[in-house]
């Protein structure tokens, strides 16, 4: 194929090559109010690990819709159940993502949704138990421009 002058000098419209839908800033410190929201939810109480599992992809296939799932190990009985699970994203312009509420009638404490992540950051889930204790898990989800794999 012959390349003509017009083709050679044509500049792609906009940013065709790396039209990243995400901003390419890198995590340095959580700058939003994620911790304040968690503190308000827990009343400053310490959250343990292990009872809550947060599933999220290591690297987001699409930062605009990242599937996450939380499960809490709980009998979900009248005496011992999960009241709520808070989800925050520590690198989004607004840290609040969702709060799921449960009752013993829920049967199990499981919820899944899709969230938008502006850049690479931690997603944090905190569960509030009926006995006043808390459980936490966090996952780093990388949001990348990708494109050089192989």
């Amino acid at each position: 194929m012959e390349l003509n002058r017009r083709q050679i000098m044509a500049l792609a419209a906009g940013s065709a090559a790396f039209a990243a839908t995400t901003s390419l800033s890198f995590p340095v410190l959580a700058a939003n109010d994620a911790q304040d929201i968690i503190n308000a939810f827990t009343g400053g109480a310490e959250a343990g690990e292990g009872a809550l599992t947060l599933d999220a992809p290591e690297i987001a296939e699409n930062g605009n819709t990242v599937p996450i799932e939380v499960t809490v190990d709980s009998p979900m009985s009248e005496d011992d159940y999960v009241e709520a699970v808070l989800i925050v994203a520590d690198g989004n312009p607004n840290a609040s993502v969702a709060t799921f509420h449960f009752t013993p009638m829920s049967g199990e404490a499981l919820a899944s949704t899709r969230i938008r992540l502006a850049k690479t950051q931690d997603v944090i889930a905190v569960a509030k138990m009926s006995n006043g204790t808390f459980a936490m898990d966090r996952k780093t989800v990388k949001v990348t421009i990708g494109g050089c794999g192989g």
Partner: protein, 564 residues
């Protein structure tokens, strides 16, 4: 980089417990300095199950030159461990004589000279000879497993949407495969092929993007030598990120460790005595995975194109690395008794094309697929005075050629070329044909863009790509090797975190530092974004080569590599 002692602690010590490693044979063979087909195939049958593994063929059906990397840096827990050992260190680690056939096959040391001595490697008709010989010896005890990246990477495969490779692989009769670049022909084409495939196409981690339900079969149960064998497939986890997701919009991938564990447990519950993971995760991901999931006896690794003459052992799991481009076939004989793996014998069989005679049936089939394209395949564009190769963490000379073509044919300040691991080598003095150019560029999103980018965006791109290669956690590594850069130099510290690896970015034509606020004209190709505009990269490269006639490239000195 790594001492033999450290490696012994990491790997061979563990294999001694399982017993019967293949180390001695490879070294002994090296000492003879002569080769026969019988020697290459010599293998004392062992145990009751034989796994034959080939991966990352990248549609290379004719014998080729393929230079292994001289730079392949590991980070985090993989630092200094195979496969992140290259050149003379690799030879010392595995007791391989410099200048021997193995040294030529497995490293970049003296590559040009040794290529002259030992010739091309691979060729699917030679592979067929080896597979048939093992099948004759082992019969129903054997499984042939293809790790994927099989259908893409050549002129003919590109022009038949992988059809040539499907036809040829069917002749080889694999029992299962998994995939990566296959999906760059689009999800409909993959589905069309898989519906007709006479063997299993497996992906435990291929899910429907909308409902998050399994989209392909994950496990295939076999009975071999009286042993129930489960083969679980694992496709490349980061397809929609590393490759254009819009080509397979209804699919989602990921490592999906929990899903994999469930599938392993289910296979065991069904009575599997041997569980094999046919993986396209990449070696470092598989090494991490092996330490986190239970019940997998063997991981047949792929994607990162590593060729290792001994298994790497993690806990009770053997990791096999069988190279790429048809250069090697792995044979792993296993003794499975009383519900468990009791021992193994392993051999990474190098396919020296001048030593192993081609299988006539396969040669005829290969020739038939090439016949309609013969004139174009053989069309000479120019000559190279330099060794042209790609594989390695940073710029290879073939990429420098592509970058030069982008800079000059598109009148750009800076060129970017993706760090693919596929792409064959050419020796000094060889003609450059259309086939050779396609071996380095043949894929389905070849448009060469020309665009303005700020210095800041360029830095962000380099940081982002570097983190996809040098993140200390392999689960966060999604890509190929580092993006190749023309017209710009930079310094990289691979041990630093994202945002602080890249410095000293310099525009080579002026020697000036890159200004974050200034815009530069950048030419590149293989953007994952839909509707990227520009001519196909092979046309840009052809235009350049035919204009200069003879290609001559110095070893690239514009990337300063630091590990601090």
């Amino acid at each position: 980089m790594i001492s033999r002692r450290e490696f012994l602690q990491a790997s061979v010590a563990a294999s001694a417990i399982l017993g019967l490693g293949g180390t001695g044979k490879f070294a002994a063979f090296a000492a003879t300095q002569s080769m026969t087909q019988d020697q290459l195939l010599d293998f004392e049958d062992f145990g009751n199950v034989t796994l034959v593994h080939i991966t990352d063929i990248h549609a290379q059906v004719k014998p080729i030159y393929f230079r292994e990397p001289s730079i392949n840096l590991g980070v985090g827990e993989a630092a200094g461990k195979p496969p992140h050992v290259t050149g003379a260190d690799f030879l010392r680690l595995y007791n391989i004589e410099p200048g021997s056939p193995e040294a030529y096959a497995l490293t970049s040391e003296d590559f040009t000279a040794l290529a002259g001595t030992y010739g091309r490697m691979g060729g699917l008709d030679r592979v067929a000879t080896v597979v048939k010989a093992i099948r004759a010896a082992r019969g129903d005890n054997m499984l042939l497993l293809d790790g994927g990246d099989t259908w893409q990477g050549s002129y003919v495969s590109h022009h038949t949407n992988g059809g040539d490779m499907v036809e040829l692989m069917n002749l080889l009769r694999p029992d299962a495969m998994t995939a990566h670049w296959e999906f760059t022909y689009g999800e409909d084409r993959v589905r069309e092929i898989v519906d007709e495939l006479p063997f299993a196409f497996l992906g435990s981690n291929i899910f429907d993007a909308e409902w998050d339900e399994p989209a392909y079969e994950h496990t295939k149960m076999f009975e071999r030598g009286g042993v129930k064998v489960a083969v679980i497939g694992q496709a490349f986890p980061y397809l929609p990120i590393a490759n254009p997701g819009w080509m397979f919009p209804s699919l989602s991938f990921g490592i999906r460790e929990e899903v994999l564990q469930e599938n392993v447990d289910a296979a065991r519950a069904e009575g599997a005595e041997l569980v094999v993971l046919l993986s396209h995760n990449g070696f470092d991901v598989d090494r991490k995975l092996a330490g986190r999931i239970s019940g997998v006896d063997v991981i047949l690794t792929g994607h990162t194109h590593d060729a290792l003459p001994e298994p790497v052992v993690v806990g009770d799991t053997l990791l096999i690395a069988s190279g790429s481009n048809g250069k090697f076939v792995s044979r792993l004989d296993l003794d499975v008794r009383d519900g468990g793996l009791k021992g193994y014998q392993y051999r990474l069989i190098p396919i020296f094309s001048d030593v192993i005679s081609p299988d006539a049936e396969m040669t005829a089939a290969i020739d038939a697929t090439r016949e309609p394209h013969k004139a174009e395949l053989e069309r000479v564009l120019g000559t190279t005075e330099s060794l042209l190769y790609r594989r390695g963490n940073f710029n290879g000379t073939f990429d420098d050629l592509i970058c030069q073509a982008l800079l000059q044919e598109r009148e750009a300040d800076i060129a970017l070329s993706p760090g693919f691991r596929w792409g064959t080598s050419l020796l000094p003095g060889q003609d450059i044909t259309v086939e050779d150019v396609f071996n380095a560029t043949g894929m389905t999103y070849p448009n060469a863009y020309r665009s303005e980018m700020s210095g800041k965006l360029l830095k962000d791109i380099l940081e982002d790509v570097a983190d996809n290669l040098f993140n200390t956690d392999p689960y966060y590594q999604q890509g190929g090797d580092m993006v190749r850069v023309g017209g710009m130099g930079y310094r990289i510290d691979t041990y630093k975190p994202i945002g602080s690896r890249i410095s000293e970015m310099t525009l080579l034509k002026t020697g000036e530092a890159i200004d974050p606020a200034k815009n530069y004209v950048v030419a590149g190709w293989a953007s994952v974004n839909e509707e990227t505009e520009g001519p196909a990269i092979w046309d840009v490269v052809e235009s350049y080569i035919t204009r200069v006639g003879t290609v001559s490239l110095e070893e690239n000195q514009s990337v300063k590599i630091v590990q601090s």
